[in-house]
């Protein structure tokens, strides 16, 4: 065999290895997240004084009442349907009365707003008296003990990801048209960046876990290396915005550490978001029928991407606030302003994302189908108006499902995406060897096609699946979060990312008649990548372990005790 053939075999082997490695990486990330969740051990115990029933308190925020939908169900007709909320904060356990008729007595004193409770306190609701005990008092045999495999070490995981990016870069170096080692420059910078992120997280900020960041690094890296054979300039921009996104991620995690602080800041954040949109409407640039860009200095930014963060922020809240202030009005008004502004700018893709996120948040908050139906009716009305007055949107509907027939006109992009996905096969034609890269917006709106063509359809599906997995993850940690603020924001963020990925993937492949949104983490686009990283903070914060390390440390210092080892971190939550 001559050398050329051997080299071709090596290149093809690398192409086949990449998706296989990607499967292992994505599996390890999510398996590790799952293994990190706490066993079903109670945080504290409630003892029903008369029935002697032992009730474990499993969540950080618990609704208590007669209704079966509560976290803690009391079988006593004198107790309200939802009577009180029992919450845990850094300062200890709190109790809030949810407008009950009978009221709440703690050690015989009436309580309405949040009040602190301690071990051995007696809580009287209706005719029932609950006594607070240490969680460890609960007999062990009632626990479902799960035996996990050890989660993968964060260091090893990041090594695997770096190796994956290295293989990708190697393939990119030997593209058909040009063979040089230029792709190693962005690879080097990006790898340095991701290890810096690792260092800052693990060593300076003392985080216990790094999976969420690993996933984002893995996906962003794919986007960066894909770009290096397409447009080296935007490749470097992508790396810089990735760094900004990482900083935003770290700041946001810090900022949302205290769920009660968020409540105070809600209106400020709403104001900033509305200001952003107004600025966009006033100074926006018109690009392809959409006016969703503003220019600051030499940079163009897309404010609607940042408003997404504010939107989740404003939407979610803690359980006692959820139950006492059931009114969604201010959130609905904020939504109307956001979607109205996006309509005005002609950014219908993002407007749709906001709308679906609104549906998710409002349902998570209220569980009310009426709101959903009303909102959907409004959406149908809005959609009709769009089709009536925006001919280019209606044109896209005309070619929907027949992209190949309109390959030279309305279905130009979609037809090429389909053709090049099929041309790529399962393992792709190699980075830099594709033809889709010559089609406009291939690195953003059509990036699913670009990945399918150059890295193979298998890789593109793995990326889609890794985004879907975020929903399953965020649902799995719902009752393990430190507040419903985190669970709602995590579920809705995951839902938003999946919906946005859906619009991107199905729009490009002619399954849906829409285009113009980015594929989270992969698509080129500074504002998009920053917003994705920042949104990831909500998912990261949903895991109670995120804030565990720091607290463990302060406590250890204050009590002059030995630092407990990692695996037992939840043993040392107790409440003095």
């Amino acid at each position: 065999m001559d050398n050329n053939v051997i080299f071709s075999v090596i290149l093809v082997t690398v192409r086949v290895l990449l998706p296989l490695l990607a499967i292992i990486i994505v599996y390890q990330i999510f398996a590790s997240m799952r293994r990190h969740t706490r066993d079903n051990k109670p945080l504290i115990m409630l003892l029903n004084k008369y029935t002697k029933e032992q009730i474990p308190v499993l969540c950080w925020e618990n609704s208590v009442g007669r209704s079966r939908s509560n976290d803690i169900v009391i079988n006593d007709p004198t107790v309200s349907r939802t009577h009180i909320v029992l919450l845990r904060r850094d300062k200890g356990w709190l109790i809030t009365d949810i407008d009950s008729k009978a009221g709440v007595l703690v050690n015989g004193k009436k309580v309405s707003e949040r009040a602190k409770v301690f071990i051995d306190d007696e809580i009287k609701i209706g005719n029932t008296v609950l006594v607070i005990h240490q969680g460890t008092d609960y007999s062990k045999k009632n626990l479902q003990v799960k035996y996990h495999k050890e989660p993968i070490a964060p260091f090893k995981l990041l090594m695997m990801i770096t190796f994956f990016h290295l293989l990708m870069t190697f393939g990119a170096c030997y593209s058909t048209d040009i063979t040089n080692f230029q792709p190693f420059i962005p690879f080097g910078i990006f790898t340095a960046l991701s290890w810096t992120m690792f260092g800052v997280s693990m060593l300076i900020m003392n985080r216990v876990t790094f999976e969420m960041e690993s996933l984002a690094i893995f996906l962003s890296g794919i986007g960066v290396i894909m770009l290096c054979r397409q447009n080296i300039h935007s490749c470097y921009t992508q790396i810089i915005t990735c760094a900004i996104g990482m900083i935003a991620f770290l700041i946001l995690i810090k900022f949302i550490e205290d769920p009660d602080r968020i409540t105070k800041w809600r209106f400020v954040i709403m104001g900033i978001a509305v200001g952003f949109l107004l600025m966009n409407m006033a100074f926006g640039h018109l690009r392809g029928g959409e006016q969703n860009w503003i220019q600051i200095g030499g940079f163009t930014i897309q404010p609607s991407e940042f408003v997404k963060i504010a939107y989740i922020f404003v939407g979610a809240s803690s359980l006692d606030i959820l139950l006492t202030r059931k009114n969604l009005m201010e959130f609905i008004i904020f939504t109307a302003i956001c979607i109205g502004a996006l309509f005005f700018m002609g950014d219908f893709g993002t407007a749709l994302i906001f709308f679906v996120t609104f549906l998710m948040i409002s349902f998570m908050r209220s569980g009310d189908f009426k709101t959903l139906i009303l909102a959907l009716a409004a959406a149908v009305f809005g959609g009709t108006i769009v089709l009536r007055f925006k001919p280019y949107v209606a044109n896209r509907f005309k070619t929907w499902g027949h992209a190949l027939q309109y390959a030279q006109t309305g279905g130009y992009q979609q037809a090429r995406v389909l053709t090049y996905i099929a041309s790529g096969g399962l393992f792709g034609v190699g980075i830099g060897n594709g033809c889709l890269k010559y089609v406009a917006a291939s690195e953003s709106d059509l990036v699913f096609g670009l990945i399918s063509e150059e890295m193979g359809f298998l890789m593109a599906v793995i990326i889609a699946v890794s985004i879907v997995a975020l929903v399953f993850y965020s649902r799995a940690v719902t009752t393990r979060s430190r507040s419903t603020f985190y669970s709602i924001s995590a579920c809705c963020t995951a839902g938003l990312l999946v919906f946005q990925a859906g619009l991107n993937i199905f729009g490009a492949t002619d399954v849906l008649p829409l285009t113009g949104v980015t594929l989270p983490f992969i698509s080129a686009g500074g504002s998009s990548i920053i917003s994705c990283w920042a949104l990831l903070a909500f998912l990261k914060a949903a895991d109670e372990k995120t804030y565990a390390a720091k607290r463990r440390r302060t406590k250890a210092i204050s009590k002059y005790e030995e630092e407990p080892d990692d695996e037992d971190f939840d043993e040392d939550y107790d409440d003095e």
Partner: protein
Amino acid sequence: MKTTRRRSLFILLLTLGFIFGLCYFIFQLSLNNGTWVNQPYNGHVNDNGGLSQAGVIYDRNKAVLAQTVNGKRTYNSDKDTRKAMLHVVGDNSINISTAVQSIFRNQLSGYNMIWGLGLPQNLKSSKDITLTLDSKACKAAYEAFDGRKGACVVYNYKTGEVLCSVSCPTYDPDNPPVITDKNAKQYDGVYLDKAISSAYPPGSTFKVITAAAAIKYVPDIFSKTFYCNGKKEISGAKVTCMEHHGNINFKDALAQSCNIAFADITLLVGKDNMAQTANQMGFNQSFDVSGIPTATSNYNVSNADDNELAWSGIGQAKDMANPMQMAVIMGGIANGGTPVMPYMIEDQSPAFLGLFGNNQSGRLGKQILDSDVAAKLNDMLRYDVTSHYGDNMFHGLKVCAKTGTAEVGNGDPDAWMIGYSQDEDCPLAFAVVVEHGGYGYSVAGPIAVAAMDAAKKDMAQ
């Protein structure tokens, strides 16, 4: 928080929608990937790029029709052969959509769903294709066209092998023309394989179908006499004949192609029986030749009055016939009522098994005629040649045939000739159409003869 978790089912539902969409797309991809790849704008397959590792295309005698040498696609060394084979073989582009290099470009260039077109050139496995066609017969037919437009099909009605399929105008695939406003007329229809993808008014050749219907549905048709004085009024409009045949019987009416007699015969058969017979003989439906679909021949009299019905029986009105279809009808008559379906690609290469179906040789089509009707038509078509055209023109072959001169409205009529040879060792059925050629017998005939002569010579070797 339990409630929060329960409500998050809504988001899960949305996610299931996403997963469903992804599965739907994967399903679409696995179903249509071949079509999606085979697009003229695909940078991976279009131009030389897609054929730079493609396999060889041979004719039945292993003459190379197309091959790739050092990454460059070249065609047969003889210019007339290249031009004659263009519409079957195709060129570097995908302009001729029914050509083998267009339809099977994926397989020729080693495309499959798993590897896509992504393998480096030196790892791609290309496949060769052998055609059933005889490039010498095609060349002879092409030269006989002598610059006129039209199509010629010759196939072996015992085995189904297509020996000659030529469409004019054509061009040299080694040197494709740039079509501009100036030469648009010269190259009008050049990207169409007229043997496969066109349908023409059949003119008098359609009388074969009318005769078949008459034999079946009019019991005493052979004893009837018709009167022709050149024109006749039916339902207030005229039907005309080129000659005054006077009193004429059924057999001579077909041989001398009398329009008046056949107008009367059509009315005797009736609308429903005419439509029934035409449908049974393959009108109003398409069929595949080695996976390449033919244009549909058309016979529709559902809204016709008697005058239009009369014209439809002599191949005018809305009648349209595809040359390949007419050749199959001839093959069907020669075979006693059931045709062997034509095919163009040999099933030699095991890699092609399953792609083109198993052995296509001798694949019978649907019965188009009762065997006694076929036998009587066989006699009548033979009588056409012996009484009218003469055996001389066919150079020793015992041919049964029918000519046609179809009025097309603009310019000279289209000239047709369809038929077959009865010779056991040279069982050929043919259909030739020459656009604006004039009289069928003298114009279309020699082209069929040229192709059959060449094919016969090769078969004898």
